[in-house]
């Protein structure tokens, strides 16, 4: 049987990879991918724990919701990124600093 | 209406008048300023004449012995369990203040006359000038530490703008340097001030007080408070009173300035416009010296005697180091600025000696240097106005072109290098005498300090004479050629009117030092007595 810990470890690694991408990348799309990775890590945790909730099926339900939400955010985020690009000719969030003093 | 209050706030009134006048009348501003300063001078002379002398008017640590006092409750907050907060509007003068007050108002008149050359943004300049005027006068009169501090801080801001907006090429750098230096000092002063406030209680009302005179009395300290004489509190392992003294001393030493806290001075002096240089050199430096006498050693007499050796050492270093640096300068104003460092070293040395001769000499030197540096900077300003250059090596043989100017320069230079008959000699000689005597009287300073100090006089002769030789004597040879030759006209009437009273003052003080000594003597004696009692 696959133990719960194994899932958690995999999801932790995935989470950290996503985190790394978010912090380090200079490309908004890659940052978005990083966010997705982190979401997926979370979903994996939900699913893994959901195994022990047969009657309410909470884990799986929320996994589904999270997937749907991810889809929605991605769509909006992409639209924003495209707009930003039109405006600033870059998608490096570090360079969009018009509000800076 | 108290005369001191009047003298402090007259400039503010005139400043207000200038503020409300339309800019179209800008040509009248300088006359208004001049009028204000003259009025002030008149009042200070009145004070001087009516100032009573005698052992009963020593001042220093007896509140009743101050003259022209005014004491009004100013901020009185009832803090409930914390007691009452008591800040007074408390002004008054003793012998040491009165001479400096007269000197200050005199110098301010000169500075106002020197402001003729300012051409841009007259309104701002004169308003700031008058605010500054008020602040410096206030510093010399206030006896409440809080009031003192307010005036002290109030000087900085106008000065910062005056240097920063009307100054020379590197004015911003100079202004910010000046500002940071002095602010650094005063921030610490604030801490000590609050510490003192919390330690001292007014014996009459039982409140904490900022009254400086009461701070001098050890009996007024609350037992167990930070700065109490008896409780030997410590801060970071040092005695709290020593820390307080050192911090206050640093604050004033920056003003004086004492090596190694002096580097703001050459920059600020060089970059400032002439009237501001005059105020800086003539008055600001004296505030440092005055503060050391009035605040540092009066409130912490025990520490002052313990650390006198170091004060004296700093004084000697300032004398020699300033003179050495002056010798190496190529810029006239910078040379004068370093000579100020050197001359103010005598003040410190005299104060450190804690003898009657030394402190009298120090006060004399302050007064004399007030006049002399005013004169020197005014003279440097004259030449800078003409050709916008101050390089010593860029001029040669000026005596042939500008004989009257040269005469005044020679008077100023020789007076500064301590030629007898001029005031600086009296100041320097008695500072040194005091320093020398201190070994036999109270064993504070070793003999060699006085001897080293006298070497400073020799160096003083060297750099002034060298400058004189290079700039004024010899065949005419100017860097700017014939353009300069036509530009370098001799003194005009206004300049002569300005310089003549200064030269006369310097001479008068040299011939009749009793003008100063008679007024300060009782205070000095009271101070010495107070210091010896501890």
């Amino acid at each position: 049987m696959i133990s719960l810990t194994d899932f958690l470890i995999v999801s932790a690694v995935l989470f950290c990879i996503g985190l790394y991408m978010i912090v380090s990348k200079h490309n908004a799309i890659q940052i978005l991918i990083g966010i997705e990775l982190m979401l997926n890590a979370a979903i994996l945790n939900l699913v893994a724990f959901g195994k022990y909730d047969r009657f309410n099926n909470g884990g799986q339900m929320f996994a589904l919701f999270a997937i749907v939400l991810a889809a929605a955010t991605t769509a909006v985020a992409l639209a924003i990124i495209l707009n930003v690009y039109k405006q600033y000719k870059t998608i490096d969030p570090g360079k969009i600093d018009k509000l800076k003093d | 209406m108290n005369i001191l209050t009047l003298i402090i706030f007259t400039p503010l009134l005139f400043g207000f008048i200038i503020t409300v006048l339309p800019s179209a009348w800008r040509n009248s501003f300088k006359y208004i300023t001049l009028l204000a300063t003259l009025l002030q001078l008149g009042m200070s002379i009145w004070i001087y004449c009516n100032f009573k002398t005698g052992a009963a008017f020593g001042g220093i640590n007896h509140e009743s012995q101050f003259q022209f006092m005014q004491k009004l409750p100013w901020i009185n907050l009832d803090l409930g369990a914390m007691g009452k907060m008591q800040i007074d509007y408390f002004v008054g003068i003793d012998g040491i203040s009165v001479t400096l007050l007269v000197m200050t108002s005199f110098v301010l008149v000169i500075a106002a006359l020197a402001s003729w050359e300012i051409i841009s943004n007259l309104k701002g300049f004169f308003v700031l000038f008058l605010i500054l005027d008020m602040a410096v006068t206030g510093v010399f009169c206030s006896l409440d530490f809080f009031l003192f501090y307010i005036f002290y801080e109030l000087m900085l801001l106008p000065l910062y703008f005056l240097i920063g907006m009307w100054g020379g090429a590197r004015r911003e750098y100079a202004a910010i340097k000046f500002f940071l230096y002095t602010l650094f000092g005063s921030v610490f002063m604030l801490l000590v001030m609050i510490g003192l406030y919390l330690s001292v209680k007014d014996p009459v009302t039982g409140n904490h007080t900022f009254n400086m005179v009461q701070m001098m009395n050890p009996a007024n300290y609350q037992p167990g408070s930070v700065f109490s004489v008896l409780s030997h509190q410590t801060i970071f392992g040092f005695s709290a009173r020593a820390v307080g003294f050192v911090v206050l001393f640093i604050a004033f030493a920056i003003k004086v300035p004492v090596v190694p806290l002096h580097t703001w001075l050459p920059d600020a002096h060089v970059e400032a416009p002439t009237p501001v240089s005059i105020i800086l050199a003539g008055i600001l430096l004296k505030i440092g010296g005055y503060g050391i006498i009035r605040v540092c050693i009066s409130i912490f007499p025990d520490i002052a005697s313990a650390d006198a050796y170091w004060l004296g050492l700093l004084g000697v270093i300032s004398i020699l180091y300033g003179a050495m640096n002056a010798l190496a300068q190529h810029d006239l104003k910078r040379m004068i600025a370093y000579s100020s460092v050197s001359h103010m070293g005598f003040v410190l040395l005299g104060i450190a000696s804690q003898t009657a001769e030394g402190i009298s000499g120090a006060v004399m030197q302050m007064v004399s240097h007030g006049f002399l540096s005013t004169m020197l900077f005014f003279l440097a300003g004259v030449i800078y106005n003409r050709v916008h250059d101050r390089g010593i090596t860029h001029f040669r043989g000026l005596a042939s072109i500008m004989p009257k100017y040269t005469t005044f320069v020679m008077i100023a230079f020789f007076a500064s290098l301590g030629l007898p008959g001029f005031s600086a000699f009296i100041g320097e000689a008695f500072s040194l005498t005091g320093a020398f005597k201190s070994t036999t009287v109270n064993c504070l300073l070793p003999y060699w300090m006085a001897v080293c100090g006298s070497v400073g006089i020799l160096l003083g002769a060297a750099y002034f004479l060298w400058t004189l030789q290079r700039m004024f004597f010899g065949p005419v040879n100017l860097k700017g050629g014939s353009v300069w030759q036509t530009a370098l006209t001799d003194l005009n009437l206004r300049e002569k009117i300005t310089l003549l009273p200064l030269a006369l003052m310097v001479l008068a003080l040299g011939l009749m030092p009793s003008l100063v000594f008679a007024k300060i003597n009782d205070s000095v004696l009271a101070l010495i007595q107070f210091l010896q009692v501890k």
């Binding site: 696959i2 810990t5 790394y20 699913v47 022990y52 | -």
Partner: protein, 182 residues
């Protein structure tokens, strides 16, 4: 070691390796495609966690929806955008990224530390659910349960999320509309 475990390790290896590749590669297009693989492998892991419906949804929405959306957005947005977006000259670990890397590594350490400390297999409620047969048996068909659950117990979140989805749809459409403003 049985087959399930073997599969688990293979799948998780694929998922992690491809995720690392996603993070490391310079080429944006490649990283997107690798992300594709990661998502597939994750779907496999969901299956192993006895959540077959979630796995299917994952494939349908993520792989079919999100990724395609990204790719479309990426490819539809003109040549220069493409070039600019694809431009990735940074190395995987450069000095500039060192703080990020350190941060991620520390996070990983912290998380692993937590996981080991918690010892998920022996949690109180997990044990209880095993005792009370609340855990999902290997051969259970969960799709039906989920459907019923959505319509009964989770109706409110379900509706809320559908409204949210619609809002997102409208918003995205508005944002990416060409023409005035934008």
């Amino acid at each position: 070691m049985n087959l399930a475990q073997m599969l688990f390790y293979v799948m998780s290896f694929i998922a992690l390796a491809s995720a690392v590749f996603v993070a490391a590669t310079k080429n944006l297009v490649r990283s997107i495609f690798m992300f594709f693989i990661t998502l597939f492998a994750l779907a496999g892991l969901y299956v192993l966690a006895l959540a077959d419906f979630v796995a299917v949804t994952q494939i349908v929405i993520y792989v079919g929806g999100i990724l395609v959306l990204i790719l479309f957005a990426f490819m539809l947005s003109g040549r220069e955008t493409l070039n600019a977006m694809a431009l990735q000259q940074k190395q995987f670990i450069s000095i500039g990224k060192l703080p990020a890397f350190l941060l991620a590594a520390l996070f990983l350490i912290v998380l692993l530390n937590m996981i080991i400390k918690v010892d998920a297999n022996n949690l109180e409620w997990v044990k209880k659910s095993i005792e009370s047969k609340n855990d999902i048996p290997v051969n259970a068909a969960m799709t039906e349960d989920i459907g019923v659950g959505l319509m009964t117990r989770y109706l409110l979140p379900f509706e809320a999320i559908s409204i949210l989805l619609m809002l997102a749809l409208v918003g995205a459409a508005h944002l990416s509309r060409k023409g005035r403003g934008a």
